[in-house]
């Protein structure tokens, strides 16, 4: 398991030092292979708990906690330096706000001794997340070899990417909340450095915005950790479920239910990391970064850290009003970010908004907090990461080859770049259609939304989920249709192949199909819920179909039928040369310019965000208030 965390970082340092692009390539490929193999080893190892209190280095045993503490302070000082350098005083203020609770926690708080809990926990959820991070991360590393061929600052790019991969794995495994906080802030640093890769004004501004929003989340996180330590006496996630909580002395003026307050603060931190409304602007601004960054950090892995934390916290807040509030915030982001994505023409912004919207859906599922809903959340997490990473990589390749990001310029791409375009169409369909994985997650989410035991605010989730899914169908179909629109008498010219970039695409698209086929296997073996929920996802699986008490569906069967429906016409239909003719166009034989339908005056960013941001801020305030009611 140490391979997962330390070795990528070491590889990154090696890559940084090695001169010349050719050798760097091989270092990166080696790192990718090691990472993949290690993750499969972890999968086969099964769930376990590890206690790593210290690293043995050349006979000396160095305790880890102080190292992490020192690194924490260094990190915060680095943020401080960057904030002052860029004159981003919000960041400076937030760093100071983080330093205060951290110092109080480490040096002044009376801490109870805790023993018996492992510092790293490798349960099913962590293994699944580790698989996603490693496999998709490795593929993206290989992809970026081809992408970054002629770019500058390549060595620092690969260094930060590999350090990030190692850190992300460590975040998944961490059980101690303090260590999780450290890894969390490292991801903020990595994201900050990667967004400003191009070093121009737009990038620097976007990275500063990402910095202060994530630091805001970090403040909430550290305050939450302090409160947890004082309420529960421990910061180990695995122990929290079993302990009783008591309000700390300085908060005794609040009602007894306020033990949920630290979780509200942690949820706040998760919301900033996952860029839900009102924090969405950092993610959409982060699209100025190179596409491998967008694919890795901002769709498949880093933003998943936020909802991962929510899934971890979910068993601890079952049935509280806080949970309902999380569901409402998630659903709100789901619906309105889908609506915003409708109005965009820039493909990366569409993907960014749709990422935020699906993260909102996952957050909504964790807020609904039943066994079925959490199964839906984990399923969505996995399948969405695969499909969204695939789409970002395709968009990156299109941008690399044609220089344009706008979907209007991607019209008829199937003749110019057939492989990428068809893979993109498959990726887009996989995000909305049965039988693919995202649909399975959405279907389970529908089922769990409809299963409420008491009338509460959670009824509004029905509206959110219905409207959100319809809006996403709209913008995905429009984009997919644009890609397929070819002129009748056009010949496709053979495209040159950039294998470093295309191989990951092919692997990922095969992965989409394979994960769908293995859905039932995935449910029965890899999703494990804490016993407090009473249901087991493995009970949901009956033979080849997923059957809950209120409805059933067979992903494999539908996949086979779907493939038949698409492939049989593809193979059977022949277009004889004599039958090809012009489109109707009233007989003029002219090819019209087609476009439009983005409704920017009604649902454009400038129109909607005016209303959505204040509502978002209100919802965050309501979150904190909900914790104390």
């Amino acid at each position: 398991m140490l391979l997962m965390t330390i070795v990528p970082a070491l590889f990154g340092v090696v890559c940084y030092l090695v001169p010349g692009y050719e050798i760097k390539k091989y270092v990166v490929i080696l790192c990718a292979i090691v990472l993949t193999v290690a993750s499969l080893l972890v999968l086969s190892g099964g769930s376990q708990q590890l206690t790593v209190e210290s690293i043995g280095l050349a006979g000396l045993s160095v305790p880890l906690s102080p190292i992490i503490l020192v690194l924490d302070y260094l990190l915060l000082l680095a943020f401080l330096w960057y904030g002052i350098k860029d004159k981003e005083y919000k960041a400076v203020l937030l760093v100071i706000l983080q330093l205060i609770p951290l110092t109080y926690f480490e040096f002044f708080m009376p801490k109870a001794a805790h023993a018996g809990a492992g510092t790293f926990v490798l349960d099913q959820l962590a293994i699944v997340m580790c698989l996603i991070v490693s496999i998709i991360g490795s593929l993206i590393l290989i992809y970026s070899i081809g992408y970054m061929k002629e770019e500058k600052h390549v060595s620092s790019f690969f260094l930060v990417m590999m350090v990030f991969l190692g850190d992300m794995n460590a975040l998944m495994f961490a059980n101690d909340l303090v260590w999780l906080f450290f890894f969390w802030e490292v991801t903020t640093l990595c994201s900050f450095l990667l967004i400003r890769h191009y070093r121009d004004d737009v990038s620097i501004e976007a990275s500063d915005r990402a910095l202060w929003m994530n630091l805001l989340g970090g403040v909430a996180l550290i305050c939450g950790i302090v409160l947890i330590e004082s309420s529960y006496g421990t910061t180990f996630l695995s122990e929290l479920a079993n302990l009783k909580a008591g309000l700390p002395g300085f908060l005794s003026f609040l009602p007894a239910a306020a033990v949920a307050l630290p979780f509200a603060l942690l949820a706040f931190g998760a919301f900033t990391k996952s860029a839900l409304i009102p924090f969405n602007s950092w993610l959409t601004g982060a699209m100025v970064a190179p596409t491998p960054v967008s694919a890795l950090l901002h769709s498949s892995t880093m933003v998943n850290a936020g909802v991962y934390l929510l899934i971890r916290l979910a068993p601890l807040i079952i049935g509280t009003f806080l949970s309902t509030m999380i569901a409402v915030i998630g659903g709100f982001s789901f619906m309105f970010c889908a609506l915003l994505a409708l109005s965009q023409t820039d493909s990366k912004r569409i993907l960014a908004y749709s990422t935020i919207s699906y993260l909102g859906l996952i957050a909504m599922c964790t807020g609904i907090n039943t066994g079925l809903a959490l199964t839906a959340a984990v399923a969505l997490l996995v399948f969405h990461a695969v499909s969204k990473g695939l789409l970002f990589l395709c968009v990156g390749e299109v941008q690399h080859d044609t220089g344009a990001r706008d979907i209007e310029s991607m019209e008829g791409l199937v003749t110019r770049m057939p492989l990428v375009a068809y893979i993109m169409v498959i990726g887009l369909i996989s995000l909305m259609a049965p039988p693919f994985g995202v649909f399975v997650g959405k279907w389970l989410a529908f089922q769990s939304v409809s299963t409420f035991t008491s009338i509460s605010l959670s009824l509004i989730d029905i509206f959110f989920i219905i409207f959100g899914s319809i809006f996403s169908v709209f913008y995905y179909s429009r984009w997919a249709g644009k890609l397929l629109a070819t002129k009748p008498f056009s010949e496709g010219k053979p495209a040159h192949h950039e294998w470093y970039m295309e191989l990951p695409l092919i692997v990922l698209v095969l992965g989409v199909f394979v994960t769908v086929a293995l859905t039932t296997f995935f449910f029965s073996n890899l999703i494990n819920l804490p016993p407090v929920y009473g249901t087991e996802p493995s009970k949901l699986v009956m033979g080849w179909s997923i059957q809950s008490a209120i409805g059933g569906f067979s992903p494999l069967g539908f996949l086979v039928i779907f493939l038949i429906i698409i492939l049989v016409p593809v193979l059977v239909i022949r277009v004889p040369k004599t039958a090809v003719t012009h489109t109707y166009a009233c007989g003029t034989g002219e090819e019209p310019e087609l476009g439009g339908g983005y409704f920017q005056s009604m649902i454009g960013e400038s129109v909607l965000l005016k209303y959505l941001d204040p509502i978002g801020i209100l919802l965050m305030v309501a979150l904190l208030v909900a914790a104390v009611i």
Binding site: V414, T453, A485, V570, V575, A579, H582
Partner: protein, 299 residues
């Protein structure tokens, strides 16, 4: 056991095979009645079948292969969703599969790269935007009342759906013209405006396939309406079987479609969105409140 299998698998199979014929005859009756209302003779009732057979006998004129693939996929997916509905699968999955068929039609419309296909496909997406929320919400309400998404539970419920969800049925009636491509909501195929919309570039056999698909679609939506009353009705001494009540409800929906088609003119897209949303959502929220207040919902 054997005749139980025959009933659960044989009857839906027979219905599935008969459905294009039933759909075609219904469309033919629709054209005849419309003609009579306009004081003219009108085509014979079996006219849709003549149309389909003629289309299958024509040569092809094709723009590219992509839209043919998606048109065939649309046809096959509608048959699949009708099969799921008749064989009593999961209502939510059936609704989503039905929606998938329209996604295929939209992709087909876009991939022809003609201006009529483009506008028609965008309008088809707007229509989907209008009716899918109401349809999904109704499926939710059905699940709340019967306790499960499975269609079997509608048949096993204590009361017919109509008693618990009258306003939802009205909301379905509001969106019926959209799905049957009739006035006032036949916007995607606005003949005088955009020349058949997504289907413009189809000819010959593939147009015949699309034409057949409309027969299946009509049967699907009528059968969906028929699900609202599947119980036997004891009246004045003898019992009307459930299937007759279903057929009666289907006929009521069908007559409603014809009347509304002849009485109204086509609306614009934004008018359709506003009116259908406002009316449909109000009806459904009232129904939801009714269910909650009278406690008829099952967790």
């Amino acid at each position: 056991m054997a005749d139980n299998m025959l009933v659960t698998y044989g009857v839906p199979l027979v219905l599935l095979i008969l459905s294009p014929f039933i759909g075609g005859i219904l469309i033919g009756i629709d054209r005849k009645v419309t003609a009579r209302l306009q004081n003219r003779a009108g085509p014979p009732i079996v006219q849709p079948f003549y149309d389909v057979l003629k289309l299958f006998g024509k040569e092809d004129k094709i723009v590219n292969k992509t839209y043919l693939v998606f048109g065939s996929a649309y046809f096959l997916t509608v048959i699949l969703s009708l099969g799921l509905l008749l064989f009593r699968y999961d209502l939510l999955i059936t609704t989503f599969t039905f929606g998938l068929s329209f996604i295929f039609l939209v992709l087909a419309g876009y991939s022809t790269r003609s201006q009529f296909g483009y506008v028609g496909a965008t309008r088809e997406l707007m229509q989907m935007l209008t009716y899918e929320p109401i349809l999904l919400f109704t499926v939710f309400l059905v699940r709340l009342v019967t306790g499960s998404f499975e269609i079997n539970s509608i048949y096993n419920a204590a009361q017919p759906l109509l008693f618990a969800l009258p306003l939802a049925l009205l909301a379905i009636f509001v969106i019926l013209p959209i799905k049957a491509r009739k006035s006032p909501f036949d916007i995607a195929e606005a003949h005088q405006e955009i020349a058949q919309g997504p289907e413009t570039e189809y000819s010959g056999k593939f147009l015949g396939l699309l034409y057949l698909t409309h027969f299946f679609e009509l049967f699907f939506i009528l059968w969906f309406v028929g699900l609202f009353y599947v119980k036997d009705l004891p009246v004045a001494g003898f019992v009307i079987p459930g299937i007759a009540m279903q057929v009666l409800l289907m006929l009521i929906a069908y007559v409603f479609l014809i009347v509304v088609d002849n009485a109204t003119a086509r609306l614009r897209v934004d008018q359709m969105l506003k009116q259908v949303f406002i009316l449909g959502m109000i009806l459904l929220i009232l129904n939801l409140a009714y269910i909650i207040v009278t406690g008829r919902w099952i967790a």
